[in-house]
Symmetry: C2
Subunit: 237 residues, 2 copies
């Protein structure tokens, strides 16, 4: 369908389309359906710190990060913040919630200037009812998300904070490189909240990792020898 392809190309850049298709949710949708959904979606520009939705708000759609970084977190009464997940480009979120009268379980806000795609809830509900086969595709995306949450619970329950930090560094750096340089795209206190520790504990953990060739300066983590870190990680076991 060259017409709608053309229309989509006017709406989304090729890079944005690539990011949408790389998301578990949108990537699992049949081509035709994705096309029709996208032509009814909007692009939201957010400044750093801006809130996309609050915990408890009624769900209004499914989102995908086109550029930037979005934080999903819960602020507790005493000011403590639990960072549940951090979404980068090509990550979709709120997939499971958009098909009924659910409320958001956490607050989403931009960690830097970001652009997100929003597919309005009525568009999704309509698509599911008209093409029941797509329910399976939708569920496939949700399953991956559930698995991710279960793995996070596993890690929080059995791994020490030090293990979680090392895992974070190893996962976020290129496994083809001997040394690595990782620019964390958010403040140190956010990294602490993501790992479930206080900022003070995180500083202590980084100090302990110095002898293993890991250093942190401003927001840049440098790994002298990635293999040594993998070895350290296996010694936790």
């Amino acid at each position: 369908m060259p017409m709608s392809q053309h229309a989509l190309q006017n709406t989304f850049t090729p890079l944005e389309l690539k990011r949408i298709c790389s998301s578990h949710f949108f990537g699992a949708l049949p081509d035709q359906l994705l096309r029709s959904i996208l032509s009814n979606s909007d692009r939201i520009h957010m400044s750093s710190g801006e809130v996309l939705f609050h915990k408890g708000d009624t769900v209004d759609g499914v989102y995908c990060v086109l550029s930037g970084t979005v934080k999903l977190s819960i602020n507790q009464i005493d000011g403590r913040e639990a960072v549940i997940e951090i979404f980068h480009e090509g990550h979709s979120f709120a997939e499971a919630l958009a098909f009924n009268d659910a409320t958001y379980p956490a607050t989403a806000s931009a960690l830097q200037d970001s652009v997100v795609l929003r597919v309005p809830k009525p568009i999704l509900k309509q698509s599911i009812l008209q093409q029941p086969e797509t329910a399976e595709a939708v569920l496939a995306g949700i399953v991956l998300h559930l698995h991710k949450l279960v793995r996070q619970i596993e890690s929080l329950k059995t791994n020490s904070a030090q293990e979680r930090l090392v895992q974070y560094i190893l996962t976020a750096t290129d496994d083809q490189q001997t040394s690595a340089r990782l620019e964390v795209p958010f403040e140190k206190k956010i990294l602490a909240a993501l790992l479930g520790v206080t900022p003070e504990t995180l500083s202590r953990l980084f100090k302990q990792l110095q002898s293993h060739g890991v250093s942190l300066e401003k927001r840049v983590i440098t790994v002298r020898d990635r293999k040594a870190l993998i070895k350290l990680s296996s010694e936790f076991l």
Copy 2:
């Protein structure tokens, strides 16, 4: 449809039917569909310790605990165990997984002699395709499960082990009573793994709670003054 009602009554006891309907998943299904699904389901008897499915197995159905207790956990290479969730009577699980070629993210085993309902995967897939409206009902159950996992991650990241233990006790005891007696239906080491601490730490936590009127003997937790525990819980904030 008195015929199928009669057939169901022969297959499931009224108490079992009540438990099935109280589950988020099965309770959200339209009556007619639930009836047709149940007439194609089976009842599995498990001895204490018996495994229902292993992590990595291909998903074969959706389950609901009819009696007993089922543990969902991940055993790590070094022997550490992460207890992800514990399901009691009327809890359904693996709902999101049964609609595609997913594998189980964790192992399910019986913590005591238990009976579970199993709805085979093909029955569910067929129902969804024939009655697309039910996809929404299915997703409603999944959303509640996702919220539960997010709340657990929040608690693991921001609450101390002591706070998690107090929360566990408060949630599991009757909020109408001044004092409470709670029989934990599994070993102490399972409770430790559920809270994400070592058995030694759990013993220490219980010792600290003694001055707040909480005692543990064998598997029985006694709370002298539930209100004092609520007060302690609010002081964590």
